[in-house]
């Protein structure tokens, strides 16, 4: 005959199971938080639908000299030649014509002269990877 647990043992098992589940869930959350801190993960810097690296894009924006014409958050000095890009992610159209999505932003950064011949924005010989990263950064500017 199988020995049934006593009432005391029965409650203890339930309590231990509850406790173990809690430890596992909280532990997983803490591991995730630790990893997020270690990886410097910031959901605001990873816009949905963009595959570029926004952090690298932010550095590239000043390296290509975009700030000489466009105002960007924290840019000093502030360029006044082109439109400010402080809220470019909230804008519906690029160059008044193209939908503000990753594909068009990338194309626009790479070949502004082909998309809109005669625009004052110069072709800066931007490589595809750099354009994707800058598009990801610009998509964070809401």
């Amino acid at each position: 005959l199988k020995k049934l647990p006593t009432a005391h043992e029965y409650h203890l098992a339930g309590c231990l199971g509850f406790c173990a589940a809690g430890v596992i869930i909280v532990g997983a959350l803490m591991l995730f938080a630790a990893y997020a801190i270690w990886a410097d993960w910031n959901p605001a810097l990873e816009p949905v639908g963009y595959i570029g690296n926004a952090k690298r894009g932010e550095r590239l924006i000043s390296a290509y000299g975009c700030t000489s014409c466009h105002e960007l958050p924290g840019s000093d000095p502030k360029g006044l030649v082109g439109p400010p890009l402080n809220q470019i992610a909230s804008q519906s159209y690029l160059a008044g014509h193209f939908a503000n999505h990753e594909i068009w932003m990338t194309q626009w950064l790479e070949h502004p002269q082909e998309l809109k011949p005669g625009t004052a924005m110069p072709d800066l010989n931007v490589q595809r990877r750099d354009a994707l990263d800058m598009a990801a950064y610009l998509a964070t500017l809401r």
Binding site: C66, K78, G79
Partner: protein, 244 residues
């Protein structure tokens, strides 16, 4: 606890040790500069730096040859170079020491090729500016010097330089030589690493923005706004980049 010295003796020892250490480091730095200076061959290069406020006009002299450039100072590494400063009196701070002066002229020796930052300290009005020096290997410097002597070719898009009005202030030897106001010489502009004196990197994006509206980028810039036609702007930027 048994002490061999009294408390005040210990303090005096610590202070004098510190003083001796500082003096040693300072003297060692001076000796190093002296040794580098002694060992350096003469180059007979004299650079006259005319302080124009927002930028520097450079007049290079070597033997009988001379030319005018702006902002980017090239020197041969390991050689003595004389820098004649024409402007308000200044002292020049290098990473370790002040540049020695001989008869009102600075003597500069770059110990190795590369970029060096000098701090130009004006006594009155008190002011500090950065001056970047590019030290080339001596044979590279000879090539650079010979290239800078040459005027630019007056062909291709060179006419844009005059038609856009750049020639009112800027000189490109061989294209436009009689400006009514003085601004940096652009004969070999494409070979420079910086624009806006030394404030911005010399790349396509920064150059385009600088040409159109420089005052937004540098407080007190004397260059006016140039609302050029976009197509002219791009061709002018390409032309300026080709001035090597």
């Amino acid at each position: 606890v048994a002490r061999s010295h009294s408390r005040w003796t210990n303090r005096a020892l610590a202070v004098s040790a510190l003083v001796i250490l500082v003096a040693f480091v300072s003297i060692a730095g001076d000796l190093y500069a002296m040794i580098v200076g002694r060992g350096a061959g003469k180059s007979a290069v004299t650079i006259h730096i005319n302080d124009m406020g927002q930028w520097w006009q450079l007049v290079y002299e070597r033997g009988g040859a001379s030319f005018i450039a702006a902002n980017e100072v090239h020197v041969p590494a390991g050689r003595r170079v004389t820098i004649a400063w024409n402007g308000p009196p200044v002292t020049v701070w290098r990473s370790r020491e002040f540049l020695p002066q001989e008869g009102g002229r600075f003597v500069f020796v770059a110990d190795r090729p590369g970029f060096q930052d000098l701090r130009v300290l004006a006594i009155w009005p008190p002011n500090m500016r950065r001056l970047t020096i590019v030290a080339d290997r001596p044979d590279d410097f000879d090539k650079w010097f010979a290239n800078q002597m040459r005027p630019a070719a007056n062909r291709g898009d060179a006419f844009l330089f005059t038609s856009a009005g750049c020639d009112l202030c800027h000189v490109v030897r061989g294209v436009a030589v009689e400006p009514s106001m003085l601004a940096p010489d652009l004969t070999h502009f494409g070979s420079r690493h910086t624009i806006a004196a030394i404030d911005l990197p010399n790349n396509r994006g920064d150059l385009s923005g600088w040409i159109v509206n420089s005052r937004a980028l540098k407080h007190g810039s004397e260059m006016p706004e140039n609302n050029l036609d976009a197509a002219v702007l791009h061709r002018l930027v390409t032309y300026l980049e080709s001035l090597r």
